[in-house]
């Protein structure tokens, strides 16, 4: 594993290498070399299985982190390839030529985050949502509760408690819900 990481550091300039657990290592790579790196890992290093690809929205840093989880069946090791892209310039190299299911993931990411994958087939088709007219829902700035209240409404009489406040009242009734 260390040899591989050293080689990747040398050839692709990966950084932020973290061993999360013995079977899972994550590292970060630049957007430009991501596709080459993933192809290299698949063809040369035996990381033939794409577990999934997904995206994390770091709105505070203004970036999307794309995560490609690759798995090596022989060594029983997983690699999490992180690629940072800007939230504004939402373009990413498509890997639909590497795995048959990749374009589905890219279609989902396109719909849920608005990331564009030029060249990926059937990218514009609806995946889960139909006739969506708001900002992509998985972005952090999208408030699902507010959207739901405004679009679907709530029936009168629905009563919900913030669990912490509720439990405080339940647990410490004598002190008026004061924990201390």
């Amino acid at each position: 594993m260390n040899d591989l990481m050293e080689r990747l550091q040398r050839d692709f300039g990966v950084d932020d290498i973290t061993v999360r657990k013995p079977a899972l290592t994550t590292f970060r790579v630049k957007k430009d070399s991501a596709e080459t790196l993933i192809r290299e890992l698949r063809d040369r290093e035996g990381y033939t299985h794409l577990n999934f690809m997904t995206c994390i929205d770091y709105i505070e840093d203004g970036i999307f982190t794309l995560v490609y989880m690759l798995h090596n069946y022989d060594k029983k090791l997983s690699l999490g390839v992180h690629v940072d892209i800007s939230r504004e310039n939402e373009d990413m190299v498509s890997i639909h030529t590497l795995w048959a299911q990749a374009w589905t993931y890219q279609r989902e990411l396109r719909e849920m985050y608005g990331i564009n994958f030029p060249g990926s087939p059937r990218l514009e088709e609806d995946f889960c949502l139909e006739g969506w007219d708001d900002i992509p829902p998985m972005r952090r700035e999208f408030d699902t509760k507010e959207f739901s209240e405004q679009r679907f409404g709530h029936r009168e009489g629905r009563h919900s408690e913030e669990p912490r406040d509720h439990m405080k009242v339940e647990l410490y009734p004598n002190r008026g819900g004061d924990e201390k």
Binding site: T18, R20, K21, A23, L24, T26, R42, D43, T48, H49, L50, N51, F52, T54, I56, D57, V67, M69, Y73, K76, S78, G80, H96, T97, L98, W99, A100, Q101, W103, T104, Y105, P121, D126, F127, C128, L129, E130, P137, M138, R140, F142, T144, K145, P163, R164, M167, K168
Partner: protein, 399 residues
């Protein structure tokens, strides 16, 4: 057979590891010519597993193009989980995959435990293992019924679905619920076994074994069932890796991969079982492999009952859940569900809410990429059987 889309029906996929996948856009079909029919199979269709649909283009009875449409069950779980606390999430996750909620519960709990470094007691490990195996048994029983039903053999469907109910009774006894158990919580399980559970469980396992023998006679030795399923939807070995095929679908063509054996979790390293593999990789082989795995489940549940410590703590000491903050971290945990690798990817940032959860269901690739590939060139009559044979559950695709 030559098809208008430049695809051929019988030639195996030409994808090696170095070759790229062929994504040539098919020529548009002239529907106005009257030669082809566009047909929507689903979502309101009894032959579709769950709530999804297939957009089929037919030339006579032969399918020349298939597109899977999902999203009818999309509830936005990943978004909902980002705005619920860790303990609130545990009630939500089981609803992701309706027929197999337990795997979601286990993987979510496991991911949280792994990031926050909680060790669960040994008894909880065994209880979890048994719970997962019982879920697998119930799910496989439903699947066998579904495969029989998809080919019109309702007798088998009635038998297995009725028997699955007895397994659900066991769940009810163990967890208090039939479908959504919410049994496996972060830190352990919610309860131990009730009195007399072991005896009743063994009785039901004996019955299940008898039922499986009957089903093997009625369904698997049936000429018509063989005629329908042999040679149907063959997955060639070269397709396994590029399409990300996992679980019984991959094992049926001789790929010896099973997470329970390869990367043992819970108590699986102490249990005695072998990976079942097949050779033919058609619908019949997959069905037979699943029948054998169902038998294996019964044996595993018995082993769990034999070796399980019957007393001791079933839950680790947990922090006050109202103040529970999970340290920053990232992990990917996976387990072998009935359809293959089920995984939870979790990223936390040290707050009370989870940063990101991604749920990886095996149907994601089986129902879309694989189904679209295999359907082409087949008869429309076989679509239902083929779909059940791939064992897809739509809710885990769209979540």
């Amino acid at each position: 057979m030559k098809l208008p889309f430049g695809r051929t029906t019988s030639s195996p996929i030409s994808t090696g590891h170095s070759a790229s996948l062929d994504f040539a856009q098919p020529e548009p079909v002239d529907l106005a010519s009257g030669k082809y029919v566009k047909l929507w199979q689903g979502p309101q269709h009894p032959g579709i597993t769950g709530n999804m649909s297939l957009e089929l283009t037919l030339d006579g009875d032969t399918i020349i193009d298939c597109k899977t449409h999902v999203g009818y069950l999309h509830r936005g779980f990943e978004k909902l989980m980002e705005r619920r606390s860790f303990i609130q999430n545990f009630t939500v996750v089981c609803r992701i995959a309706v027929p197999e909620p337990t795997f979601n519960e286990y993987l979510y709990s496991h991911a949280v435990e792994e990031i926050s470094g909680i060790e669960i007691p040994e008894r909880a490990t065994w209880l979890r293992t048994m719970n997962l195996e019982m879920m697998r048994l119930a799910s496989f029983l439903m699947w066998i019924g579904g495969q029989g039903g998809a080919f019109g053999q309702y007798t088998v469907a009635n038998w297995t679905l009725a028997y699955r109910d007895y397994v659900l009774d066991l769940f009810e006894e163990m967890t208090g619920a039939r479908i959504y158990h919410m049994y496996i919580v972060p830190g352990g399980v919610r309860a131990g076994l009730p009195d007399g559970f072991e005896g009743r469980a063994r009785e039901i396992m004996d019955g299940a074994e008898k039922l499986l023998d009957q089903i093997e006679r009625v369904m698997f030795n049936n000429t018509v069932f063989k005629a329908r399923s042999k040679g149907l939807a063959i997955i060639p070995p070269e397709m396994i890796d590029p399409y990300g095929i996992v679980g019984p679908n991959a094992r049926a063509c001789g790929v010896k991969r099973d997470l329970r054996k390869d990367e043992p979790y819970l108590a699986y390293d102490q249990l005695d079982f072998d990976i079942v593999t097949g050779t033919d990789s058609d619908a019949y082989e997959r069905a037979y492999l699943r029948l054998q795995e169902t038998r294996q489940c019964i044996s595993l549940i018995r082993q769990c009952l034999d070796r399980m410590p019957m007393d001791g703590a079933f839950q680790a000491d947990m922090p006050n859940v109202l103040h529970w903050k999970v340290p920053a971290g990232e992990t990917y945990v996976k387990a072998e569900c009935t359809r293959g690798e089920y995984g939870y990817y979790m990223v936390t940032d040290g707050s009370e809410l989870v940063r990101r959860v991604h749920v990886r269901g095996p149907s994601y690739t089986h129902a879309i990429a694989v189904m679209e590939r295999l359907a082409v060139g087949n008869n429309i009559a076989d679509i239902a059987g083929m779909m059940v044979s791939l064992h897809t559950y739509p809710p885990e695709i769209e979540r």
